[in-house]
């Protein structure tokens, strides 16, 4: 999420009286003509089986968009002047037409940042990437040591990612991203991650563990404790804009100081997700029918979904703070992450499960045996490795919220400003 991740977003405090323009964040909450930051998951196929995968990826979906359909979607992005897209998956480089699509996008003035586990980054690929001004790369790693990483991402995945970073650095690609999901087990390694990124001329990007996809199964075990959240907050404040966050951690603003970036949940307003079969969701962390706005294959395509779908229209209306309305920190944290609430079975107009004031913990304790919603789709391979010590999974019947989400969240739209979170 984020927008320009290389540098923070700047708003020009300029012209036009407030009565006419108002606060920029308010304008964003009312939606834009086109997303600022769009995530496109190209395939559900993946050679890894990370225990916290947001999209429950593993196997390709037979309904995935064809090459021609993908190009038509890119044409639409160009017409809408979407500056760049974040491509993910699954492992997007697995698609046979991946490089063709990247080239097609950049030839059509749509910049690309793609996320990869590094398995397809050969020396030749790294050289080609280093030569492009319109492609950025994000390599995922969830431990600064092989033991911590591989417990989450699978055996050998640490070596694969580090080898890819070596190749990128050797090819002269400066400023690619090292992307880390912060967990209970790696939160003590933040300095080590930073050193690792520095060693390869990369920029560190930290994001929040969400209870989405398979992440729901491991969230109880892996999400940072409240002490660790504070530790993370202090670390982020110390490192400022050197470290990207995709605006992932705006729920931590409740501690007092705002973190760099625009503290805003952009779901359906400035960000959205297109999944491999063309379904458009409000944000990358909300693959569930409740947050499904439409499909790019329907008449009017993506543009129609973005501009006129019922869900996105609703999300752009003023939202209620609900149970958080009387809290003095609401203006900072905005009630936290919609997806985190939804997939932990909490009401959407109440506190985030990781509310820094502890309201989330109380709410979680009060759930009792209430079932939490399951993802609508699961492309996990039949026997996926379970490397993390996980407790029993208490997921059963899907629960359907009675009303649309109040505060969808996003991968951090503008937050850090640059290309994407």
């Amino acid at each position: 999420m984020t927008i320009t991740e290389r540098a923070p977003a700047r708003s020009l405090q300029q012209p036009a009286p407030p009565a006419v323009v108002g606060r920029l964040v308010d304008r964003f909450e009312q939606g834009l003509d086109a997303p600022i930051c769009l995530t496109w998951e190209l395939t559900y196929a993946c050679n890894l089986a990370c225990v916290h995968c947001l999209s429950s990826s593993g196997r390709r979906d037979p309904r995935e968009l064809s090459t021609a359909e993908c190009k038509a979607v890119i044409d639409e992005f160009e017409r809408m002047q979407i500056f760049y897209i974040n491509i993910g998956g699954g492992e997007p480089t697995i698609r046979g037409d991946f490089w063709e699509l990247v080239e097609y996008a950049t030839d059509h003035h749509v910049g690309v940042k793609f996320s990869t586990n590094g398995s397809r980054i050969t020396d030749e690929v790294a050289l080609r990437l280093a030569g492009s001004d319109y492609v950025d790369v994000q390599i995922s790693l969830d431990g600064a040591t092989a033991s911590v990483n591989d417990a989450v991402r699978g055996a050998g995945s640490y070596d694969t990612a580090v080898t890819a970073m070596e190749r990128m650095a050797r090819a002269g690609f400066v400023g690619f991203k090292l992307s880390v999901v912060v967990t209970r087990h790696n939160v003590d390694q933040l300095d080590a991650f930073k050193a690792l990124a520095d060693r390869y001329g990369a920029q560190l990007r930290l994001t929040r563990l969400r209870p989405s996809g398979r992440g729901a199964d491991v969230w109880d075990e892996l999400h940072p404790t409240s002490d660790q959240q504070h530790q993370l907050y202090r670390w982020l404040l110390d490192h400022g804009e050197d470290v990207l966050t995709g605006d992932s951690f705006f729920h931590l603003a409740g501690y007092g100081e705002s973190l760099p970036g625009l503290n805003l949940c952009g779901a359906g307003r400035v960000v959205c997700l297109v999944d491999p079969v063309g379904d458009v969701y409000a944000c990358p962390f909300a693959i569930h029918d409740e947050f499904l706005a439409g499909n790019v294959r329907s008449p009017g395509g993506f543009t129609e979904v973005w501009r006129h779908s019922d869900l996105f229209t609703e999300l752009r209306r003023p939202q209620s703070a609900g149970a958080c309305g009387s809290c003095g920190h609401y203006d900072s944290c905005r009630g936290g992450c919609m997806a985190a609430k939804f997939f932990t079975g909490l009401p959407l107009d109440g506190p985030d499960p990781e509310c820094v004031l502890g309201h989330g913990e109380h709410a979680l304790a009060g759930r009792g045996g209430t079932p939490v919603p399951k993802p609508s789709l699961d492309h996990s391979k039949p026997s996926r490795p379970v490397a993390v010590a996980m407790g029993p999974v208490h997921r059963a019947l899907p629960a359907t919220p009675s009303r649309p989400p109040d505060r969808p969240c996003d991968e951090s739209p503008l937050a850090a400003s640059g290309l994407g979170s």
Partner: protein, 101 residues
């Protein structure tokens, strides 16, 4: 794909000089003004008014920055506000000086 270019050195806006939008920058008009995205620095900026957008869009065709303000209908007493915004854009490489034509 074009080669990765180093971002231009930051410069200070001078309204008496000729300016242009950086060739790697795209502008997208929005109801509040516009979004500007620099593909070289991967930096996003927000232009918070349509008038500022009009100024930026006319830079390349006008002999000087001040002429661009005038062409966009900005009264001289407001130029200083716009110059501050243009200075921020110049500093981040979104606009750059050009040879006067």
């Amino acid at each position: 794909m074009p080669p990765r270019l180093a971002p231009a050195d930051p410069v200070t806006f001078d309204g008496a000089r000729a300016w242009t939008l950086h060739p790697q920058v795209s502008l997208r008009p929005e109801s509040f003004g516009a979004l500007a995205y620099h593909f070289g620095t991967r930096r996003l900026s927000f232009l918070k008014s349509r008038t500022l957008l009009a100024v930026v869009e006319s830079l390349a065709e006008q002999p000087t920055g001040h002429d661009a303000c005038r062409a966009a209908g900005v009264p001289p007493e407001e130029w200083s506000r716009y110059e501050r915004a243009l200075d921020t854009l110049a500093e981040s490489g979104m606009i750059c000086p050009r040879e006067a034509s």
